[in-house]
């Protein structure tokens, strides 16, 4: 990890761990395991309520697959820019890291914009939170995913702002971007599962 760090600050070498993995990175991985169960429970709820709605609109009447495919593409591309931001951080290329962080933030915001548009148009077409079981489980599942994206945007924005104070990068700094990247990719992967289950698999 972080091969191109020229002079690691002295405190970095003091962080000796039993496994050699940084404590923070290990915690992020275990936290993401917990998040899997969080989304697992939400997705299960959605699947259990499939076909249980007593009134419409039903999923096939309202879901707009082309629009959401576009927003999915945007989110997938944000994972690419995130990888490049981590690459920049780990190779001491501060400018690249900042640029790619900014790109990731913007793509995340575009995804959230798509979601806001989707929610608004669904409400106009008569699907509210309490209309039927599809509405409740759809809004709660995708809403909490959107919340995760929003937290991610806040997380990355904090990283970008904090990096304005820096003129260089060490291994320790790169780790912060790496951790944010793990979170961001996780939220992205969860969306692929949600998109497949809600939009792509016909029922």
């Amino acid at each position: 990890m972080a091969a191109a760090t020229h002079e690691p600050p002295p405190h970095v070498t003091e962080h000796h761990t039993t496994t050699g993995i940084d404590n923070r990175k290990m915690m992020m991985w275990i936290f993401l395991a917990s998040e899997c169960l969080f989304f697992g429970a939400l997705i299960s709820t959605y699947l259990i309520f499939q076909g249980e709605s007593l009134v419409g609109p039903l999923p096939h009447e309202i879901l707009n697959i082309p629009v959401t495919s576009a927003s999915t593409f945007v989110l997938l591309m944000s994972s690419l820019t995130m990888v490049l931001a981590v690459y920049g951080a780990q190779h001491g290329r501060l400018g690249m890291m900042k640029l790619m962080l900014l790109a990731t933030i913007l793509l995340g915001l575009v995804f959230l914009g798509f979601q806001a548009y989707e929610f608004t148009s669904f409400v106009h077409e008569g699907l509210g939170l309490t209309t039927n079981q599809f509405g409740s489980s759809f809004y709660v599942l995708t809403g909490f995913h959107g919340t995760h994206v929003a937290v991610g945007v806040l997380y990355l924005t904090s990283m970008l702002l904090a990096s304005q104070r820096r003129t260089g990068l060490g291994a320790d700094r790169a780790l912060h971007i790496d951790l944010a990247g793990l979170y961001w990719h996780f939220v992205d992967i969860v969306w692929i599962v949600i998109f497949t289950i809600i939009y792509l698999i016909p029922h």
């Binding site: 761990t17 039993t18 404590n23 915690m27 709820t45 309520f49 039927n132 079981q133 709660v140």
Partner: protein, 600 residues
């Protein structure tokens, strides 16, 4: 560095309020957890005594139906989330770093945050008594008893928000403990040399990490149902009340092991030391603990045999429930084998550990009885189940925690608890506990349902109810004897020395109470029982180098700010969204300050 020196001189010697509010020392945090947990335990005990007083005679008039529902619900919530878990967390905090040979946990400030969020959640939950009524739908919150239609007071909303807050605290603490145990071990402390207590904590941490998010989802859905009018759990519009039961017990059953495994770990530390021989079958007890952790996720529907699951799920969950009795039984034999042929010292800690084995075995056996669906059909919602859970949770978890109190109190305070009062403490609790809960087996089989606030005379329940109530008073006196013992002990001069028991684990090599940095020199571990190995092989302690540069984390007030933000979010969720926004801003400010704060 200046701040590091500051930390060393501050954390131990400073005793002002501010030093406690900003502490990141795992020992101080553990002490606050233990004391707070014990105070909540007394509160939960008071609620239990009120419940028993109401049920002492037929047609009791001490509590009305609504107040009774609040008391039995808050008794369970308090004991589980505010009593047993925090007292366990107190031991985890205090002894994980000492047992693995570390100077602190992996994330000291996160540890402080867990503590403050736990305290916020506990106070928030109990404030409901004064704000329109406490939760009254049982700790399991079954739909539709939790719905706005049938639970109109804000009690069940407090339940939702309170448990979300407490769950956040437990999740952060568990992440912290898991990383500490895996990643902060001293040289030579391989996984298979970890004390069994630490192994059990690791299993508990993963149980919580993987089960709490499921409860979180259920609680959020319940919040949506109650506040924003969705119907996840209300059948009139297509919702499913049984879904709540699945979600709750996927969390709830692992939670049972979260409560009992720490006590199993404590007993596994106490018995070898008091029997003066190594634990019998170390790897068997470790793998049995891990097996309980894994199987614990596959038994949840045994709480739901009477909901009409169908034959296949009933058979599967019946079999998995019986299977989980096997690793539990293995542990019983490990403890018996440890004592067998040992030179046993019958001090109070030993009494409580042996009491644990006896009472937990009774609770375990009645648990296996419920594993059979036809039998469970008769037991469901009867006092037989109340008897079972209290043999497991009081006879098991609480007896183990008291064993831990007597065993570790000298390390934490430098003083040995009084043995004569200790024996009195044990016997009053032991007799009171059996007198309270054993008759409930008879009541259950005689058909007395749980959660009823009164009953008519002539049902055949009068005698045993009176006996159970008398037992609960004796039990309460037993707990008060412990309080007297602690007060008396704290007024005497320290007399414990480093190692009053001839212990095997690392904490007994350092002073009591330990210095802020725990170990002058990070210990090197050569065996499962490191101190016994060093004693038997004549290995002297490593001399302390002349320039001993020890680097300790400085105190921080940011955990307090983040906890305040979380509390505001919770208060907002119970009142108005504007406060949620304010809480979010405070939290983000706190996290920013935290991230930018220099830690070295």
């Amino acid at each position: 560095m200046a701040t590091a020196l500051g930390a060393m001189t501050h954390t131990q010697e400073d005793t002002g309020l501010w030093s406690w509010l900003t502490t990141v020392d795992h020992k101080r945090i553990g002490a606050v957890y233990t004391v707070a947990g014990f105070l909540f335990f007394l509160l939960g005990g008071f609620e239990a005594v009120m419940v028993r007083t109401q049920l002492a005679v037929p047609n009791g008039t001490v509590l009305d139906a609504d107040r009774y529902n609040q008391f039995f619900t808050m008794h369970a919530l308090t004991m589980i989330f505010l009593g047993v878990m925090p007292m366990g967390a107190g031991f985890f905090n205090y002894f994980i770093p000492l047992h693995v040979g570390a100077r602190d946990v992996a994330f000291p400030r996160l540890n402080a945050l867990s503590l403050w969020i736990f305290l916020s959640g506990g106070i928030l939950l109990n404030s409901s008594f004064f704000l329109g009524g406490a939760p009254n739908g049982g700790w399991f919150g079954y739909a539709p008893l939790s719905s706005i239609e049938y639970a109109k007071s804000s009690g069940m909303t407090f339940y939702v928000v309170g448990l979300l807050v407490l769950g956040l605290s437990s999740l952060m603490a568990s992440l912290n403990f898991a990383v500490t145990i895996i990643n902060m071990r001293a040289p030579g402390m391989s996984m298979m040399r970890l004390p069994v207590f630490i192994w059990m904590v690791l299993v508990v941490a993963f149980l919580l990490i993987l089960s709490l998010p499921v409860l979180t989802v259920g609680l959020l859905q319940l919040y949506f149902d109650r506040v924003w009018g969705t119907s996840f759990f209300s059948p009139s519009t297509g919702g499913d009340p049984i879904l709540w039961q699945h979600i709750f017990w996927i969390f709830g059953h692992p939670e049972v092991y979260v409560l009992i495994l720490p006590s199993m770990g404590i007993v596994s530390e106490v018995l070898p030391v008091m029997s003066k021989k190594p634990l019998f079958g170390y790897s068997a007890i470790v793998f049995a603990g891990a097996a309980i952790g894994v199987l614990g996720f596959g038994v949840w529907a045994h709480h739901m045999f009477t909901t009409g699951l169908g034959p296949v799920p009933q058979v599967v969950f019946s079999a998995s429930t019986m299977a989980i009795g096997v690793p539990t039984g293995i542990k019983i034999f490990n403890w018996l084998g440890t004592m067998y042929g040992g030179n046993i010292r019958f001090v109070t800690a030993t009494y409580f550990s042996v009491g644990f084995i006896a009472l937990f075995t009774i609770g375990g056996i009645s648990g296996v009885m419920h594993a059979s669906p036809p039998v469970d059909g008769h037991h469901q919602d009867s006092y037989f189940v109340v008897a079972h859970i209290h043999y497991v949770l009081f006879g098991g978890a609480i007896m183990g925690i008291f064993s831990g109190f007597y065993y570790w109190f000298p390390k934490m305070s430098g003083r040995l608890l009084d043995e004569a009062l200790g024996k009195l403490n044990f016997w009053t609790m032991f007799v009171g506990m059996n007198l309270t809960f054993f008759p409930m087996h008879f009541l259950g089989l005689a058909g007395m349902p749980r959660r009823i606030y009164t009953y008519d005379a002539g049902m055949g329940w009068d005698t045993w109810n009176m006996v159970a109530t008398i037992g609960s008073y004796i039990l309460a006196i037993g707990v008060l004897v412990f309080v007297v013992n602690v007060i008396k002990t704290m007024r005497k001069e320290p007399d414990a020395g480093n190692d009053p028991w001839g212990g095997a684990t690392l904490e007994w090599a350092i002073p009591s109470p330990p210095p802020a940095h725990n170990f002058d020199v990070v210990p090197e571990v050569r065996d499962r029982d490191p101190l016994w190995y060093n004693r038997d092989h004549g290995i002297a302690p490593t001399p302390v180098p002349e320039h001993n540069h020890i680097h300790m984390p400085p105190p921080s007030y940011f955990p307090l700010i983040v906890a305040l933000g979380v509390l505001l979010i919770a208060v907002g969720a119970l009142s108005t969204l504007a406060i949620v926004g304010l809480g979010a801003v405070v939290s983000v400010y706190g996290i920013w300050g935290w991230a930018l704060e220099p830690t070295d």
